[in-house]
């Protein structure tokens, strides 16, 4: 069988090496235009071929067994300590791979003119994007805890350079360092848990040469205290990445200083590693500890929902605002995961995809807006009355905004309602109350989206902005797939739900193993 996942991981690496190779040197040979001509189309080509590979992977994936990890490959990597190169995806992983693979060409296209005509800079930028793509795809496929950890940290490298090297904000270096410090701090705690997992696994009888494989470790009974400690180790790393209040501080700075394209990849895809890790590592590996921590996690998730939304309302910087909305949305995702209902978990998995599309659209369109301002201002107050000047841009922004506020009919609504309705019937104590407490988030979402729209697009056009050009063809091509995707998934969510439903049931079944039998059936676990 064709190794689809390995191909999906390797291809962008090849692209990054080819396109970005000369970026390492300092050659500025030849006229600038010659180099400019090649780097971007080549990178775009690579990312589009990657999309084709993705289609192949989807075709090879058996949706009837979406809960099982498929398309797998396992090779010994460092046999001395039992590390393997093990990749495989279940439905959720496949959707997130798809999100990464689909967003990269759009981001490349959106950033077409953003980095000027400096050849070295361009090559470096597209090379880093492709490198990041390879790591992101790999991390969603990793089925070996050590491999996962390595990729979890490796992603930081291209992300760090993308934030610090290519942003538009003055504080981008500081933001990059903040991002790196938060992520490394979380990663360090996780590393300790990974090592502990290895030793406990081996002492519990796992084959030392396969000691990091998730499938082997799932069956290990770690003992209550150890399990809880390790859960905390993993969870903190994932919560930082997710980002969840109170470890979210890096996100608004990054969103406000990075380029919109970087923010899209970072917040819409890379951050999903946090929630994806909670779902595919924390819950199966530490089921008892997950139940133990659930009440606190749920509380923090709901606080994130409201906190992020309130902070978004108070922002004066457009891109920071979009960043804050994500804090709110990630709160919903975590809420769905930790209430242990098939509906909520499936909703969360679906929401990971939808949030990527909706927030990606919002980031990119906001980026188009900012790029039009004579001074590239991100201040909301510097804009006014643009609907009459750039009607298509206004309409696209509004649609993206409506997706962010989960307008029914769009995909985000389906997932949000699934999370809320599912969470209401969740098993941890107080789920229903917290679910109700999260509902005002939908009102706050309406406020931050419509307030922003009102300030930027209505009233009299601001001085100096009366002649801004409307969306160009290239920019429409970027926005269209996202909008169409949100609409189609909103009307026929079954297209995606077939991939997340079975994994959700299975993950809920895993966390309810030692509940009484009648409870387990009530939770809909027919695994």
């Amino acid at each position: 069988m064709f190794p689809w996942l390995t191909a999906l991981i390797a291809w962008p690496l090849v692209g990054a090496a080819l396109v970005g190779l000369s970026a390492l040197g300092r050659s500025r040979t030849g006229p600038a235009s010659a180099g400019v001509g090649l780097a971007r189309p080549l990178a775009l080509l690579f990312s589009l071929v990657e999309v084709a590979l993705l289609v192949g992977a989807f075709a090879a994936f058996d949706t009837g067994a979406a809960a099982e990890h498929q398309l797998g490959a396992t090779y010994a990597w460092i046999p001395q300590i039992g590390v393997s190169y093990a990749v495989a995806v279940d439905g959720v992983g496949l959707l997130l791979v798809a999100l990464a693979v689909v967003l990269v060409p759009l981001v490349l296209l959106a950033a077409w003119k953003e980095q000027g005509r400096d050849e070295v800079r361009l090559r470096r930028f597209v090379g880093l994007v492709l490198l990041l793509e390879a790591f992101m795809v790999a991390v969603f496929c990793a089925r070996d805890v050590f491999l996962f950890y390595v990729l979890f940290e490796a992603m930081l490298i291209p992300a760090y350079f993308l934030i610090g090297g290519f942003g538009q904000g003055a504080g981008r270096r500081k933001a990059a360092v903040k991002f790196l410090m938060f992520s490394l701090g979380g990663g360090l705690i996780m590393l300790a848990a990974v090592i502990a997992l290895y030793f406990l696994g081996v002492s519990a009888g796992v084959d030392p040469s396969r000691a990091f494989l998730v499938d082997e470790l799932v069956a290990v009974d770690l003992g209550t205290t150890a399990e809880r400690l390790m859960f905390v180790g993993f969870f903190i790393a994932f919560a930082i990445k997710a980002p969840m209040v109170p470890v979210h501080s890096w996100l608004p700075d990054v969103a406000g200083n990075a380029t919109p394209g970087t923010s899209t990849l970072l917040i819409c895809v890379l951050d999903k590693v946090g929630t994806f890790g909670m779902l595919t590592l924390c819950l199966p590996l530490f089921p008892e500890a997950s139940r133990w921590a659930a009440p606190l996690v749920i509380a923090l998730a709901v606080i994130s929902v409201l906190y992020g939304a309130i902070m978004a309302i108070m922002q004066t910087d457009l891109l920071r605002l979009v960043g804050w909305t994500s804090v709110s949305h990630f709160g919903f995702i975590i809420l769905g995961i930790f209430t242990f209902t098939p509906l909520g978990t499936a909703g969360s998995s679906f929401m990971m995809l939808n949030h990527g599309l909706a927030t990606g659209a919002l980031f990119l369109v906001a980026g188009f807006l900012v790029s039009r301002h004579p001074e590239k201002s991100q201040k909301i107050a510097d804009y006014s009355g643009l609907r009459s000047v750039t009607p298509v841009l206004a309409g696209t922004f509004l649609v993206a905004g409506l997706a962010t506020l989960s307008l029914p009919g769009l995909a985000t609504f389906v997932s949000e309602i699934m999370v809320l309705v599912g969470a209401f019937g969740g098993s941890p104590a107080g789920s229903a109350g917290w679910a109700i407490a999260a509902v005002p988030g939908v009102v706050l979402a309406a406020v931050y989206v419509l307030l922003t729209y009102q300030k930027i697009f209505t009233g009299a056009p601001a001085a100096g902005l009366e002649a801004l050009p409307d969306l160009r063809l290239r920019e429409r091509v970027v926005a269209a797939p996202l909008v169409v995707g949100l609409l189609v998934l909103g009307l026929v969510p079954g297209l995606a739900l077939t991939y997340v439903d079975a994994p959700a049931e299975q993950s809920v079944a895993l966390t309810t193993v030692d509940e009484p039998a009648d409870d387990a059936t009530q939770m809909g676990s027919d695994q």
Binding site: S249, I313, M314, G385, S388, I417, L420, V421, G425, V500
Partner: protein, 644 residues
């Protein structure tokens, strides 16, 4: 029936396609776009007629059809199909929405003639029609919610239609946002209700959740909670107390929008929700009582506000709020009230749309003036508008045989029905309903005579009022005829009540606490008294061009009984305070807290930096000292060890 059921999806589909073409088509569709919009709406109306005539031809017990389209959502134990429910209730709405909607589309062709963005306007109107039909045709709460927010979106877009390029642009945009956000507050209720319903019954489709089994399995507290959550949703959408504040501001939209969305159809969706959810409400008497109270409060609130407004559209908006209060009150009375709630909704849809379009015609003639103190004596110049609005005026007053009489009188009678164990209810709500009718008579007569009556016009300079074009007055005529006759056609012999019976159930007949003729007579007497008072004040005596200071009550009513001030102090200020608190907390506690970590590291480093003097000799001294210390320690330890 089954041979035409396939047409049902096109009820929604055609306006939706129309909206898509108009909104995505760009300038290419500018020339003919408005006619496409009219055609899409009219085609829906034709389909509606076909379906309704076929429905009338089917036996009563087969008149509820769930037409499955495709599986919408199936995950984690929740299965919701995308489907259409056709029954007398939804078809009544379909007829109201498509028929009145089409008339308003036609009217708008002329009304928006000079607007460069007329095509976009029709795109939004079509979007609204599609969403409203989704709302009423949905066969599940989840799909209903899609229509529910869809009409909210269309309403948002249309209220803010003039959100650039006008002096009032920013205010219009703010009004649009206010409407959407207040609707969203109500929507929280619908979301919570769905969560409760799914937890209680495991489904969200009407077929399951509203069945006797499912409702019977709900405990009374759960049913009450669901009922109250649904009421919250209805309050948001139907501008009922305490979520009424957005409706007045919503008049910022073009007048056809006010007629279609903020009078005839969308704002009545809350009543639809209440009637549709009847079985749940009946299982929750407390919730029902709250529905009645909300309806009663709003009906007085709107009526009082209506008496003081000088802006013709805002007066009509207050009246809408009040009339929906009547419907809400009826919807809380159980099966006895449902049919009359929907009946009044239908007649109100006609006469209020007529009144609004009439107001639009007046504004058209008076250069967009809305202040009634600057009108007067217009009957000679706008005869058709005058007559059609007159019919609407008589209808809303409830003068027999005009439409409003049949429906409103039914509600007043129902309000006087005794409730077992709570004898006070019939008297309180009955009296409120009659009182409301009196105030309604006062403010509508005031509106009518301030606009058309009086010998001395109070126009601004250079006004040359003229009757509007046929495209505008023909819809007025249709609506006028409806205002005059619809009630009698459907009301005599209880035709409409029988038609709705398959949905709302048969109401056991109770005798009101007062004999019916007494109720009717009393109502008519107070209505005539109210109208005469207004006639004396605004037709016989001269109306000042500047509003007099007025009594405390007048001043309060002019400011909507201080609703905005109350919202400001009770909700917005505290909310803003909380938001400020969170913002400061995030900056000074969370962010600074994390910032303290690297700071501590750097302080630590700063302390040790001093040791690095750069002088080779001090390093050497350090080494020598260190060696000495180690030597001493080793010597001591070795010495101690030797001692043992």
């Amino acid at each position: 029936m089954n041979d035409v059921i396939g047409l049902a999806p096109w009820l929604v589909g055609l306006p939706l396609i129309g909206a898509a073409i108009l909104l995505l088509g760009g300038k290419a569709t500018d020339r003919w776009g408005h006619w496409l919009g009219v055609a899409a709406s009219a085609a829906s109306a034709v389909i509606g007629f076909i379906l309704m005539f076929r429905m009338i031809g089917t036996p009563a017990e087969e008149r509820s059809i769930d037409h499955h389209l495709w599986t919408w959502l199936s995950a984690g134990g929740l299965d919701v199909d995308l489907g259409i429910r056709l029954d007398p209730l939804s078809l009544t709405f379909v007829m109201l929405v498509t028929f009145v909607g089409t008339l308003i589309h036609v009217y708008s062709v002329a009304y928006m003639d000079h607007d460069p963005h007329r095509r976009r306007f029709f795109g939004y109107l079509n979007l609204f029609v599609a969403a409203m039909l989704t709302l009423v045709l949905a066969d599940s709460y989840l799909l209903l919610f899609v229509g529910w927010e869809g009409v909210g979106l269309a309403s948002y877009l249309l209220i803010g239609f003039w959100d650039t390029g006008r002096p009032s642009a920013r205010e219009n945009a703010v009004a649009a946002k206010k409407a959407f956000v207040m609707n969203r507050i109500g929507d929280m209720g619908l979301i919570a209700a769905m969560a409760l319903l799914f937890a209680g019954t495991g489904a969200l489709d009407f077929g399951t959740t509203l069945s006797d089994d499912a409702v019977g399995s709900l405990s009374e507290p759960t049913a009450t909670a669901i009922g109250l959550c649904l009421l919250l949703a209805a309050c948001g959408k139907s501008a009922q107390f305490p979520l009424q504040a957005w409706l007045g501001d919503a008049m910022a939209g073009p007048t056809p929008v006010s007629a279609l969305i903020h009078a005839a159809t969308m704002v009545t969706a809350g009543v639809y929700l209440m009637v549709r959810s009847g079985p749940i409400l009946e299982a929750a008497p407390t919730a029902q009582l709250v529905v009645v109270i909300v309806g009663a409060v709003t009906l007085l609130f709107g009526a009082v506000v209506g008496t003081a407004k000088d802006d013709i559209k805002k007066a009509l908006a207050a009246s809408t709020m009040s009339q929906i209060g009547y419907m809400m009150l009826a919807a809380g009375l159980g099966p006895a009230g449902y049919a009359f709630a929907i009946f009044h909704l239908l007649t109100h849809g006609f006469f209020k749309a007529g009144l609004f379009l009439g107001a639009g015609s007046v504004m058209h003639a008076m250069d967009d003036q809305t202040d009634m103190r600057r009108f007067g004596g217009l009957s000679r110049f706008l005869p058709i508008t005058w007559i059609t609005m007159g019919l609407g005026w008589l209808a809303i007053l409830g003068i027999p045989p005009f439409s409003g009489f049949w429906s409103k009188d039914g509600i007043i009678e129902a309000a006087f029905m005794p409730v077992e164990g709570q004898p006070w209810r019939a008297w309180v709500f009955g009296t409120v309903a009659v009182l409301g009718a009196a105030i309604t008579a006062f403010y509508m007569t005031r509106l009518f005579f301030m606009t058309f009556g009086g010998r001395r016009p109070r126009w601004a300079e250079n006004q040359h009022p003229h009757e509007s074009s046929p495209l505008m007055w023909w819809p007025l005529v249709f609506l006028g005829v409806g205002s005059a006759a619809l009630g009698a056609v459907l009301g005599i012999g209880g035709t409409f009540v029988t038609w709705l019976e398959p949905v709302v159930g048969h109401a056991e007949h109770h005798e009101p606490v007062l004999p019916v003729p007494v109720i009717i007579t009393a109502t008519l007497v107070v209505v005539v008294l109210g109208a005469l008072l207004a006639f004396r004040m605004y037709a016989v005596s001269l109306v000042p061009e500047e509003a007099p200071r007025g009594s405390v009550l007048t001043r309060a009513a002019r400011r909507d009984l201080y609703q905005d001030a109350a919202n400001e102090t009770l909700v917005l200020k505290p909310a803003h305070g909380v938001a400020r608190l969170v913002q400061v907390g995030d900056r000074d506690v969370v962010d600074r807290g994390w910032g303290a970590l690297p700071q501590a590291v750097s302080w630590f480093g700063a302390a040790f930096r001093k040791a690095q003097s750069g002088y080779v000799r001090s390093y050497a001294a350090g080494m020598a000292g260190g060696v000495l210390v180690i030597a001493v320690v080793v010597w001591l330890v070795a010495g101690l060890g030797g001692a043992q």
